[in-house]
């Protein structure tokens, strides 16, 4: 079933807006994970603006599709997209990482705000998503579950425990996405702990694998269309991305993994983003 696609240019503009929001949030917070938030923008945006059935007016709607951000440190992007979808006011975004805020440094479950699970300890999100998908199958519910992982996160053994179990249970209502930005806090994955060949790994664990450019919203929509038709096994979208995407001095730099931009850096970045419109 083809669903109605959003205007591509509007979506691309939205991605630029989300990037500038993320940078401002992180600057105000004074800490956080910039690189991996910027790399996943198109993935999360495409999920919420195209792929997933959800309604910010009815966040607890039983048939909503579920999204689990297993790479919990990437939450600024999720928060920004949820606010854009109307789950909460933009004002809340500026409380990120502040004492008493509902927008914790890593997501804390809050379904009314659109946050399905607490994550941040890497490797657990895919198992949680698997539990949701398994319960849905047991109860013959139609909702689908999506789980975004980091490529560095795939070094956790628990991911592969879940990968094994998801295909063993033929969970075609489960879709994993890997934000394959090739960098973790210590440096390039190839130097810290190589996880490639990723396609072969997931395939051998019984998953359907689709590899796309993770910044190409059309390619992502095509991939989600394809995944929806796969029956009898889970699917994973390997989304090749650039860490720090969109900001020249942040791209492909491990040093931007866990650091927030300062005021002057945000100003420079916003100028760059404006030129991309």
């Amino acid at each position: 079933m083809m669903r109605k696609r959003p205007d591509i240019n509007e979506l691309k503009e939205k991605a630029i807006k989300i990037r500038s929001t993320i940078l401002k949030m992180l600057q105000i917070a004074g800490s956080g994970h910039t690189g991996g938030s910027l790399s996943e923008v198109e993935i999360i945006l495409t999920l919420y603006k195209y792929e997933m059935s959800h309604n910010s007016k009815k966040p607890e709607w039983e048939q909503r599709d579920r999204f689990i951000l297993s790479k919990g440190h990437g939450c600024p992007t999720l928060y920004a997209v949820l606010a854009d979808c109307g789950y909460f006011s933009e004002d809340l975004l500026w409380t990120l990482r502040k004492m008493g805020s509902k927008l914790q440094g890593h997501p804390q479950r809050n379904v009314p705000l659109g946050l399905e699970a607490s994550t941040g300890s890497l490797g657990q999100g895919l198992s949680i998503a698997l539990g949701l998908a398994l319960a849905a199958k047991m109860d013959k519910k139609d909702f689908r579950t999506y789980c975004l992982m980091g490529d560095g996160e795939l070094q956790e053994g628990q991911i592969w425990e879940a990968a094994m179990m998801a295909s063993f249970n033929k969970l075609d209502n489960l879709c994993g996405i890997v934000d394959n930005n090739k960098i973790q806090i210590d440096g390039f994955l190839k130097d810290v702990m190589n996880v490639e060949p990723l396609a072969e790994k997931w395939e051998s664990f019984g998953w359907e694998v689709i590899r796309v450019d993770g910044h190409d919203v059309v390619g992502l929509m095509d991939a989600f269309d394809k995944v929806r038709e796969i029956k009898g096994k889970p699917s994973v979208i390997l989304a090749d991305t650039i860490k720090g995407k969109g900001i020249s001095f942040m791209e492909n730099k491990a040093s931007w993994h866990g650091v927030a931009p300062k005021e002057d850096e945000v100003e420079k970045a916003l100028v760059e983003l404006k030129k991309q419109k």
Partner: protein, 312 residues
């Protein structure tokens, strides 16, 4: 006369069977060891609600969290060493942080496991689980209580860790007795000192109290089947009414039941205490009875420590 002994894991198996019949939301997850944990009793009757996880405890705990988010009432079954130790961070973040109705059955608690030795004798679960916010810890004294605890855990909207024995334990309670998680039971009144025990040590405590009674020492015995939340009221009453408290657990004394009791006593009404348990050691292979003696966990060890405490 041979005393009837039943492993508390059998009570767990029976509890699951009853839950299977009465609560359609109950699902059982097993990390292999399905027969050893008695999860197979449920599996044989309700296979459509049984989830085989293989030897992967970390994944099992987070999967259970996901299922609980959808309204299921999962019971995760494996040995205590693997449940509490190996999957601790999953129980912390996936389960306790989200405060879900996920129940964890850790069988093969204590050195009474016997010949399998240190790698399979769980000695730290009370400590590890007690440290997790929202997590409750229940150590039933016998198979009858184990069944009741299992059924009770399902209807508590928080995570509950249940600790069971592999070996047979004499019955110290009756079917008709009331059982409430968090509410301890005075099994014997006494005025000289109090013994607070959990699990299979309750039976040893009762035997020790009998021996001491014959020697003119009046001992109160409390079955603290719930190390967390601890029944503070019954502990403080004992501190006020008797001259001292001895705690007994087949578990490390570092952070376990004894520590939980001491935390309450020393901050509110300090009295002399003795903590009986495994003294920061690993277990080893042996017969249950040999090990209980070696690690000084028998009724006669309790008698000895009671006399030390009373200065006799």
């Amino acid at each position: 006369m041979e005393i009837k002994k039943v492993p508390t894991r059998d009570g767990f198996g029976k509890g699951l069977l009853e839950l299977g019949k009465n609560n359609k939301d109950v699902v059982v997850l097993s990390a292999d060891l399905t027969e050893s944990t008695r999860a197979n009793w449920f599996k044989n009757e309700y296979s459509e609600r049984f989830v085989s996880c293989g030897v992967a405890e970390e994944n099992m705990m987070s999967v259970a969290a996901g299922m609980a988010l959808e309204g299921k009432v999962p019971f995760c079954c494996t040995f205590g060493v693997f449940a509490a130790g190996r999957a601790w961070n999953q129980l912390s973040i996936s389960v306790s942080y989200m405060d879900l109705n996920v129940n964890i059955a850790g069988t093969h608690g204590g050195i009474s496991v016997g010949p399998d030795g240190a790698t399979h004798q769980a000695l730290e679960e009370i400590t590890l689980m007690r440290a997790l916010p929202n997590m409750m810890v229940v150590v039933p004294a016998d198979a009858i209580e184990a069944k009741k605890a299992t059924i009770a855990a399902a209807s508590i909207p928080h995570p509950v860790y249940l600790r069971f024995t592999r070996c047979g334990v004499p019955l110290v309670s009756k079917e008709e007795d009331e059982f409430i998680i968090g509410k301890a039971k005075t099994l014997k009144e006494g005025s000289d000192l109090t013994v607070i025990a959990c699990g299979n040590m309750v039976c040893e405590a009762l035997e020790a109290a009998q021996i001491l009674q014959e020697q003119g020492v009046s001992v109160r015995v409390i079955n603290m089947h719930t190390p967390k939340p601890l029944d503070e009221e019954i502990v403080l009453k004992a501190a006020k009414e008797t001259k001292g408290i001895i705690t007994c657990e087949e578990h490390t004394v570092v952070g376990g039941l004894g520590s939980a009791v001491a935390e309450v006593v020393c901050q509110n009404h300090p009295v002399p205490m003795k903590l009986i348990g495994v003294k920061n050691q690993f277990g080893q292979s042996g017969k249950t009875e040999e090990l209980m003696k070696y690690y000084e966990l028998t009724a006669s060890d309790i008698v000895k420590r009671a006399k030390e405490l009373l200065g006799a």
